[in-house]
């Protein structure tokens, strides 16, 4: 159950966007695809703009280019696994070459 406090976990992490094009449309789509594999709520924050990590449009409005620092906040039963997967994705430049 989502309301079970023992299983709810909240983790957050700051990550630098490293790929050349930043959070462009395909990168955002990849991010959402990964985020949706998990039950937890995913929030992405850049400066003071907040977006839902499971929404492509939301992520695109962040305008996070190369070198920008984003904060990912994840809350839910599988938060640990989700942050690991998303961090890996961003650090691997969303699977892009540069």
């Amino acid at each position: 159950m989502a309301g079970d406090p023992q299983k709810m976990k909240k983790v957050e992490k700051k990550i630098t966007v490293q790929n050349k094009l930043g959070f462009h449309a395909r990168a955002a789509a990849n991010f959402v695809k990964t985020a949706e594999k998990f039950q937890s709520e995913v929030m992405v924050i850049k400066d003071d703009v907040e977006a839902n990590g499971k929404s492509i449009l939301g992520l695109l409005t962040l305008g996070a280019g190369k070198g920008s620092i984003i904060k990912i906040i994840i809350e839910g039963p599988d938060a640990d696994r989700a942050i690991e997967a998303l961090e890996k994705l961003v650090n691997n430049k969303f699977g892009e070459e540069e």
């Binding site: 709520e41 703009v49 839902n52 449009l57 939301g58 409005t61 305008g63």
Partner: protein, 317 residues
Amino acid sequence: MEITIKELIERANENNIPLEILCGEDALDNRIKNPRIQKPGLALTGFTYHIHPARVQIFGDTEITYLKELSAYKKRKAVNFLDEISISCLIITKGLEIPSLLLKKACRNKIPLLRTTMQSSVFIREIEELLNELLAEKVSIHGNLIDVFGVGVLILGKSGIGKSELALSLIMRNHRFVADDMVEIVKKYPGVLIGRPTEMLKHIVEIRGLGIVNIKDLFGISAIRDTKRIELVIELVKWEDDTEYDRLGLEEDFYEIMGIKLPLVKLPVTPGRQLPVLIEVAARNYLLKIKGIDSAKDFKDTLDKILKEQQKKEEIE
């Protein structure tokens, strides 16, 4: 909320309110924190109480003419208030020529001195409207906003529950689309929440399987609106067998945004439920309620009356 003089000038010029900088260029980081302006005429006579440095200060024809009429000695004394109080900015209206003493004083004290060609009365109305907007409290909410029969309906719910598809169905039923995914909400006046899309996402909806589509291009100008006051909140929730849902509509639920409580309807989602129809009914019901008609309560009252009469009959017999 607060804004710098630099931002104020930029936004004013964007909104066709002309403002030129006469001096104080290096103090454009000064901040305005209050949307109300002040006309500090009495400061020229030496009475400087109640001057709020974080408001826009305005001198119009009256103040400038008064200053011009003064003797050289009194003139010098009159502008001394600029030494005492470091106001964020001073704006001269009507394109008036600025007495050199005032200009020098402002420059020396690094106070941004600005001038507009507009008349005081018009300028004050316009700049207060702009400041109200710029200084308003704001939040961004994950959801979408549709005008249903003139009621601004904010639809909330987790990702993937079908908010965007629902928005599309409502558009197909001739309701007007405001924002999908991210709704920017501004508390512009007390008790009033105005919703709009973020600039980048204007007219845009993302539908799984179809991708990003533009509502204005697909359905035309009559299918969209730029802003809408939010009056009703619908939360889409996953149907769970062990959860109880409102069957009577007698309980009132609220959703709070920036201290303002809006009526909330929680709609459980299951395949086959006609959500657009349900939302239309919720909007009609809301319209009835604000006219003082509450169907659920009326029904309950009638029922209670019948039961009471039966009880009386029973007692007599």
